[in-house]
Structures are given as structure tokens and as C-alpha cells.
């Protein structure tokens, strides 16, 4: 038992050292979004995607984007140095609540349960709240 615990402790120390080296070499690698990146990323996943309305979060880490070709809404969020994309539908969206220019979304998705946005202004948030609730 002691030998197994020692093995575990050494392994964890080794992992910590390797992750430390990774941080040293590559930094935190946080992605940011701009409209063209958001459109390109969603376009990669959705054949025939035609960019419609788009709202960037104030921190440029997430965006809501409309596919004008299929009348669908997508959420794209930076995760590490990459992005995660979800189609927003009545099935996936549990709730959308607005507070001023902020939107708080909850999803029925174990690995992506919620997202919060601060949009450009209150009217933009209001417009997107309406779009999301009609999705």
C-alpha cells in the first residue's frame, strides 16, 4: 500500500513538473475572438453557414452568432487556446436571463452548463434575449 501511494505521489509530482514546464514554454495560451474568427470557426462546423447577426462579449472570449442560411443560433466560446461551439436550440437552452447588458445562459449540457455575456449595450442584450428565447 505504501509503495502504491509513493508511486501515486511521484506520478503526481511528475505531472506537476511537466505542466509547469508547459506553462513556462507556452504560457497560458488564452484565445480571444473577433467576428471574422467566430464566423470562420462556426463555418468550419456548419456546411453552408452564412453569417448573420453577431454579438461579441465585452471580454472578447465569446460570441453569439446567427446562421442566416439555416436560421440557427450558435454560441462560440474560447476555451484555452481553442474554441467550443454549441448550437442553441429550445432543447439545449434551459434558460436565458438578462440583466442590463448582461445575458446569463444555462444549458442542458454537462460539460457546458452555463455562459455569461456582457454585451455592448442593453438594447443588444435585449435583442439577443428575444432571439434566444425564440430559438
Amino acid at each position: 500500500m505504501n509503495a502504491q501511494l509513493l508511486y501515486l505521489a511521484i506520478s503526481l509530482a511528475g505531472i506537476a513538473a511537466m505542466v509547469g514546464l508547459c506553462v513556462f514554454l507556452f504560457g497560458r495560451g488564452i484565445a480571444t475572438l473577433d467576428p471574422s474568427v467566430a464566423e470562420a470557426e462556426v463555418g468550419f462546423e456548419v456546411p453552408g453557414f452564412r453569417p448573420g447577426a453577431l454579438a461579441m462579449s465585452a471580454d472578447k472570449r465569446a460570441a453569439l452568432i446567427e446562421d442566416a442560411a439555416h436560421h440557427a443560433l450558435y454560441l462560440i466560446a474560447a476555451r484555452g487556446d481553442g474554441y467550443v461551439i454549441r448550437r442553441i436550440s429550445r432543447v439545449s437552452l434551459k434558460s436565458a436571463a438578462r440583466n442590463g447588458a448582461s445575458l446569463a445562459l444555462r444549458f442542458s449540457d454537462l460539460t457546458f452548463p452555463k455562459a455569461a455575456f456582457v454585451l455592448a449595450d442593453e438594447q443588444t442584450a435585449r435583442d439577443w434575449e428575444a432571439k434566444l428565447k425564440a430559438a
Binding site: C22, P47, G48, I85, L110
Partner: protein, 299 residues
């Protein structure tokens, strides 16, 4: 005979991961992200822990099957070589099932959940093998009379071989090697989410199985692979990475309204739903094919 190739190779894995990190940093080929790498490494350690805790299930299963074996294969170098090849064939079918049957995918998805493709991805091993009991694919080898210890040895060697193919640092190997063996190029295709690359290159060691069974897709230099799964995870939590699909199955089963739906949610391809509202790899490929033919009707 007790010889664990994976355990013996661990120091080499560490050296190669560190070497790859430096190469990627200074040559600029490939990508690393610390939290992604941390998750992969913890998944690797966790798989050793879960594997040790639940190995008795496979041993128990093997002892149930072995009385029915046709013969008893004795230890020899030719026997190990034959066992290695046949084990790789069973690996191919297990792996293909792991992508086409949601129950097995629920375990295997953890390995594909990184959006990066580097040597730490090789270590991102699942924890849920004790739930899916994928080792039933070894039954033919047990019935042929290969000893359990020989299966453990060749299974370990297979896993060690697959380590080095998880990299973007290596382009293509010599043509003869690419023709027979699984390589970084072939396996990049396997880990890619590009529609043309989905459900391809299931091989462990010998790519000839994919060529034989019609699942081989070569890497196209004009289409760079994008890694991950079609619905990428927004978490680095290793427990969620390891078990999220099992929870997804449980949730779906709770809402199932018929036996057909129960069977579909467990055994149909990942993404299956009764109303077809979710994406499977087949529906994604069909949509892209339709889109491309609409784009270039003359082709």
C-alpha cells in the same frame, strides 16, 4: 511471466513528451496548452488507477472463458508474434465499435476529447473500461488458447506502439512503412473532426486492417486535421471528461419512451436520437457531401 511494457516505457514517455514540448516551442510545429496537457496527464495516471482497481473483472471473465478454449498455446516467440497480430485485429474491431456503438464510445470519447494532438493526447486514456467491458473483444484469443499473461503482454506492447503516433511533429514516414503500419499521419486523420476524416483509420499497429475493411482514409495535405470531437467539451475536469457520455446515456434512458429508444440510446452510433435531431458522424458526412456537391455540381 510478469512483464508490463507500459510501466517500463513510462520513463521514455516522459522524456519524449518533454522533448516534443521543446520541439513544438522552438520549431513551431504542433500545439500545446497547459490545462489540456494537465488533463491528459491526469487521465493517464487515472487510467492506471482505474485499470488496477478493476483488472479483476477481466481476469474473472478470462477464467470463465478459458475452460472452453480449443487448445493451449505455449509461450514462444512465434506464438507471441502471432498473438500480437491477432490482438491487433481484435483491437481494430473493438476500436471500430468504440466509434460506432455509443456504449463503447462512452468510454473511448475521453481519449478523443482533446482539441490538441500531441504526445500527452496519447496518455489521455479512458477510465470507464470497467463499465463497458470492451475486453469481451479478446474472447476469440482466449478461445484460441492464448494465455492471459500473453494477452496482457501484447496488449501492453500495442499501447506502447500507439504512443509515438500521437504527434504533429512527424510528417509522413517512408512509403512502405505508411503502407503497413499505423503512423502519425494515419492517426491524425483518426483524431480529426473534419467531415471527410470521420470514422476512419481505426488501426492500432497495422493500418492494413483499415485497408482490408474499407475504413482507410489518407491524410490530405490540403485539408489540415482539426482535432477533438464533433461536440467539443468545455471542461478540463478529468471526471467529467471520463464519464460525461455515460451520464448522457443515463439522462437519455430516463427520457426513453420505448424499448426501441432504450436500445437506440445505448447501441446506436453516438449522436443517435429518436427524432434525428442530433448529429451522428453519418449525418455530418451526408450534410457536407450534399453541400459540396451543391457547390460544385459538375464534379
Amino acid at each position: 511471466m510478469h512483464f508490463d511494457p507500459t510501466q517500463l516505457a513510462t520513463p521514455l514517455f516522459i522524456v519524449l513528451v518533454v522533448a516534443e514540448m521543446f520541439f513544438v516551442r522552438y520549431a513551431g510545429r504542433g500545439r500545446y496548452e497547459p490545462r489540456d496537457a494537465a488533463t491528459s496527464l491526469i487521465m493517464g495516471l487515472g487510467s492506471v488507477v482505474f485499470g488496477s482497481l478493476f483488472a479483476f473483472i477481466f481476469v474473472w471473465f478470462a477464467h470463465l472463458v478459458m475452460p472452453w478454449r480449443l487448445t493451449t498455446v505455449a509461450w514462444s516467440i512465434p506464438a507471441v508474434a502471432i498473438c500480437f497480430v491477432l490482438d491487433d485485429l481484435t483491437y481494430y474491431w473493438w476500436h471500430r465499435s468504440a466509434h460506432r456503438i455509443r456504449w463503447f464510445w462512452a468510454e473511448h470519447v475521453a481519449h478523443h476529447s482533446s482539441q490538441h494532438y500531441n504526445l500527452t493526447t496519447a496518455l489521455r486514456q479512458p477510465w470507464g473500461g470497467f463499465l463497458t467491458i470492451g475486453f469481451i473483444f479478446k474472447t476469440p484469443l482466449l478461445l484460441l488458447g492464448f494465455p492471459l499473461s500473453m494477452l496482457a503482454l501484447v496488449g501492453g506492447l500495442n499501447l506502447v506502439y500507439q504512443f509515438w503516433i500521437h504527434t504533429e511533429v512527424i510528417g509522413k514516414m517512408p512509403r512502405w512503412f505508411e503502407a503497413v503500419m499505423n503512423t502519425p499521419s494515419h492517426h491524425r486523420v483518426h483524431h480529426a473532426t473534419n467531415a471527410k476524416y470521420l470514422d476512419a483509420n481505426y488501426a492500432g499497429v497495422f493500418i492494413v486492417w483499415d485497408r482490408m475493411f474499407g475504413t482507410f482514409v489518407p491524410e490530405d495535405e490540403n485539408e489540415k486535421p482539426r482535432y477533438g470531437i464533433v461536440k467539443n467539451l468545455a471542461t478540463y475536469n478529468p471526471f467529467k471528461v471520463a464519464f460525461h457520455e455515460f451520464i448522457g446515456i443515463a439522462r437519455d434512458l430516463a427520457s426513453a419512451r420505448s424499448l426501441r429508444e432504450v436500445v437506440g440510446y445505448i447501441f446506436a452510433p453516438p449522436g443517435w436520437s429518436p427524432d434525428g435531431s442530433r448529429d451522428t458522424s453519418d449525418s455530418i458526412k451526408a450534410r457536407w457531401a450534399q453541400f459540396r456537391s451543391a457547390q460544385s455540381p459538375a464534379e
